[in-house]
């Protein structure tokens, strides 16, 4: 199934989806050394964003989050791509400086459909996301 969004940071990625229903604060929620989600009350606690297509509604919290995304990339534990309902400046800046493909404004239908573990192909040049299952 193919969904059209807005390609914000160009790139192409294939990978397994990791889906968070909650917004993400990169500072505090994710360990920049391992990519593990470390906030205890988060639904994905203990899982890693490494090499995943990381799906969450939008970013929140400290602008230091952009530096955390950058550090994930330096440590080779960054997600392969990020998909949002609406990207905020923290995530946009983080993805630009880390060359992580970013697509937002995907339909509500997409977010209802996508599940952690789905195989997805992200074409952020065109803003197109395909769920392969």
């Amino acid at each position: 199934m193919e969904f059209k969004g807005r390609g914000l940071v160009e790139g192409y990625a294939e990978g397994i989806a990791l889906v968070s229903k909650e917004p993400i604060s990169f500072l505090g929620d994710i360990d920049p050394k391992t990519g593990t989600i470390i906030r205890k009350d988060h639904e994905l606690y203990g899982l890693t964003v490494k090499d995943k297509v990381f799906v969450f509604p939008y970013g929140k919290g400290s602008t230091v989050g952009s530096y955390i995304i950058y550090r994930l990339r330096k440590n080779n534990v960054a997600p392969k791509a990020i998909l949002n309902v609406r990207s905020d400046p923290v995530v946009i800046i983080g993805c630009v400086i880390s060359d992580i493909p970013l697509v937002d404004m995907l339909s509500e239908k997409f977010f209802k459909k996508i599940r952690s573990g789905d195989k997805v192909i992200v074409d952020a040049y065109k803003g197109v996301v395909r769920i392969l299952k």
Partner: protein, 397 residues
Amino acid sequence: MYLTREEEAILSGEHGPEYQKAMKVLVKLGEALGAERLVKVVHAHISGISYQNIGDAGLEFLEEYSKVKVRTYTTSNPLGFDMNLWREMGIPEEFYAKQLRIVKALRRMGVNETFTCTPYYIRKPLVGEHLAWGESNAVLYANSACGARTNREGGPSTVFAALIGKVPYMGVHVDENRVPQVLIKVNAPLRDQLYAGILGYIVGTYVKDKVPLIRNIGKITDDMVKALCAGLGTSSSTPLCFLENISPEIPKMKLKYSELEKAEIDAQSFKDVIETYETLDSADTVFLGCPHLSYGEIMEVYRYIGKYDRKAKTPIILVTSRKVFEEIPPYVKLLFEKKNIKLIRDTCFVVSPLKYLGIRKVLTNSIKQAHYLSNIHGVKVGLCETRKCIGIAFGER
């Protein structure tokens, strides 16, 4: 987005990979948020440079980008400690070393080592100037008291804006977004910085991201305007407010008061805010200097303590910028030393590794400081007027 030929060249990498990335950040932000072009800024103020806040991630990032220079006049926010007093403050070697690396990276980039949250004391913005400032109190002061134009930039975006010397032309850079949406009438006297700060805090809680016009505040001092901006920045995300008789843009505005949402604030609201904090008649530290003290505020403390012939029982910490610190006459510093008053610079308790300082109970006149100390550091905080803070430190009831 429309780009000039030079901007295109930077984006295509002709000035090297760092400038290319910086330009790409500005363009992507502009595209995502609906800007048609970039606009030149005369002053960037970089926030988020305390190692306590940005950690190794921020340190590595700044070091990597320190190969290149900023392209506009740039100042910097406070550090995690006073660079001259770090040993006395109990800062561990490792923390000091990493903070120093951040300072050196900024120096290589050509950033002015101001280390203050009051860049408007370093260079006061003029009406209509475009800026790229981080630090919410400074943003609100620049827009509201000076009539300059800056959005609330985050730490990283201030770095990219400084490198390029431009920002996306959007938000309060644009005329149409510089109009009040909520009319606030104040029905209580603003006795000093404490009350001005709390007013800002109450207004911010009410307006959230809307732009307020605040009336009936009387003749408040510049120091009180600063406190008001700090309070407003703490509880809201608005970059701009209009202050009656102060904001330079008001006389030129065509306002239809009847079309604005209206609210009134009375004396009880101020009491309610104060009561959400501790009632402390003792503390281990009295703190004044959030935002950093002006020359006038420090001299006021100097004149006020003249009436005490003894030392303060509780240490009073006064925090300011290194610029203002240098301007304070030696005889004032000498008297402070004798009276158990510490004048420090470069830092702010909010971004300080407080655990090393052994501070548990603080008395302050700043709602912003009170808010962050209790929320981030779990410190007990009491709120008092400036003179009462000093009085309690000297053992008065």
